[in-house]
């Protein structure tokens, strides 16, 4: 069935490269890996010709070994009550090149989920109407679901006007051992 769908898409979208990725043997949910340039056209074809009108789940997966981040879309059809068709798009891990086309213009349901993928994985969605962080706060700079993310030792540390005073007080009184002072300076640099 997935082979058939692959043939149909290959005919309708010229120049597309499609690859089938198998799921676990028991799950039986093979996925279609689409190249970035033709992802939007493929999704549009699936929505309009295959009646896949319900984009259920959007998420990212980080593969540091491949050097890529994968965005996974699970598409269902409410009209035909079929699904899922799994669509995968891959982008390089480097933050500047980590871009995929947004499917929010096709399915509104992707809006918050793509924002979440941007927030947690750093994938930029071209064509998204409102790409902001959604779960982490705006000042947060990292993307915590990446595999190489190192959580800070003190989650609640924030710069305050008293930081310098505190450091000086520590130096004068010498209460805090040098190891803790290192950390304090590290946190200050951050």
């Amino acid at each position: 069935m997935i082979e058939q769908l692959r043939e149909t898409i290959a005919q309708a979208v010229p120049g597309v490269t499609l690859e089938i990725i198998q799921s676990t043997p028991a799950a039986q949910q093979p996925a279609l890996l689409v190249d970035r340039d033709h992802a939007f056209a493929t999704a549009k074809f699936l929505k309009e010709n295959q009646q896949l009108d319900f984009c259920s789940c959007v998420t990212g997966v980080d593969y540091p070994k491949l050097g890529q981040i994968e965005v996974v879309y699970h598409l269902y059809s409410v009209a035909k009550k079929t699904g899922p068709v799994v669509l995968k798009v891959r982008a390089p891990r480097e933050l500047e090149q980590c871009r995929v086309p947004s499917l929010t213009p096709l399915w509104r349901g992707c809006e918050f989920q793509e924002r979440e993928a941007y927030d947690l994985f750093g994938v930029k969605f071209d064509g998204h109407p409102d790409l902001r962080r959604i779960l982490m706060w705006d000042e947060f700079t990292d993307h915590p679901m990446r595999k190489d993310y190192v959580p800070p030792k003190d989650y609640e540390w924030e710069p305050t006007p008293h930081d310098d005073t505190l450091t000086r007080a520590v130096e004068v009184a010498g209460i805090i051992p040098p190891s803790a002072r290192e950390e304090l300076e590290k946190a200050k640099k951050k």
């Binding site: 198998q22 799921s23 676990t24 043997p25 028991a26 799950a27 949910q29 996925a31 009108d53 319900f54 984009c55 259920s56 789940c57 998420t59 997966v61 980080d62 996974v72 699970h74 409410v78 009550k81 899922p84 799994v86 399915w107 509104r108 349901g109 992707c110 809006e111 918050f112 989920q113 947690l120 962080r133 959604i134 779960l135 982490m136 706060w137 915590p144 679901m145």
Partner: protein, 380 residues
Amino acid sequence: MIQQISPIPTGMIETQTIEVSIGPQHPSTHGVFRMDAVLDGETVVGLKPVMGYLHRNHEQLAERMTWLASIPYTDRLDYFNSMTNNWALCLSVEKLAGIKVPERAEYIRVIVSELTRILNHSCVIGFMLQDLGAWGTPLLYAFREREKILDLFESLSGARMMCNYMRFGGVRVDMTDAMVAQAKDIVAKFPRFLDEFEQLLSNNEVLLARCQKVGILPKELAINASISGPMARASGVDYDIRKVDKYGVYGRFDFRVPLGEVGDVYDRYYIRVLEMRESIKILNQALRDLPAGAFVAPEVKLRNFKIPPGDGYGRVEAPKGELGFYLVSDEGGKMPYRYHCRPPSFINLTTLEDMCLGHKVADVVIILGSVDIVLGEVDR
């Protein structure tokens, strides 16, 4: 808090829109949730939901522990419906690993999940009425009934809300005959409570005036915006995962999928009443047919549990909508490589702005109440 945006010339006098932050500490937001509303007088002309105050990166926590160890964490997602949360994770894992669940376990799962649905829907109606200004009374009526179901859950799993009841390949403890009798008793008495509830509410003039033609969600938008659960069905989307996927043993039961016509707040209220009546039907059949046998698949070894490499997506019809888990297993297979939860109440908030535009601020509160969100699930 209040900020001037842009002047709107109206000829005689100049008026301006103001931006008002509703929440995050407000009883009507059902937790720490904030809405940035732009108001023209009392009319809403823009509204952006702001969430993440309760974010704890549930997904990353689960990726750092074994498959089994994340079951208790799913209880905390939607803390009203721990049973269906457990089921969603167990169903996904069973799908990936190809585990067959014994018949009795499937029936017990249906029973506890439908009880959860009743519990959730009656409480949601209570909270909705609370948002309308009916302080306490409907909510406490609902909580009185909820308590009976929670008593059953407590004797079944040891905890009232954080049940941690299901395991891969079945359930943790068997349902004794006394518990089945208790469940039958609850189910027999519940329709009477529902009649009483409806008599108070369904034709109540204040409820009709406040809820009808408020927060209309068109059918096309509901499908396009991935709205699921009672909210989608209130807009007339004929989509119930219990009917479509027929997961578990849902294919065997005779029940209908109630649909709304208008898609307003009143439809979202009434669809929940009707769904409770359908749940009672399912419960009656499940309790009647409950077979004897094993309550957990004996071949599943929960210690050193492994899943072959690959991915998969499993979903259930939770009381709030489609709850799914996208799981990826890698070479070792002991821990999830990727664990993603598709939360229904998070995605149902997508159309909050569309529903609120053009309504008064007081209506925003009831529209949000009718979406039925739980912040533990929205923020994860």
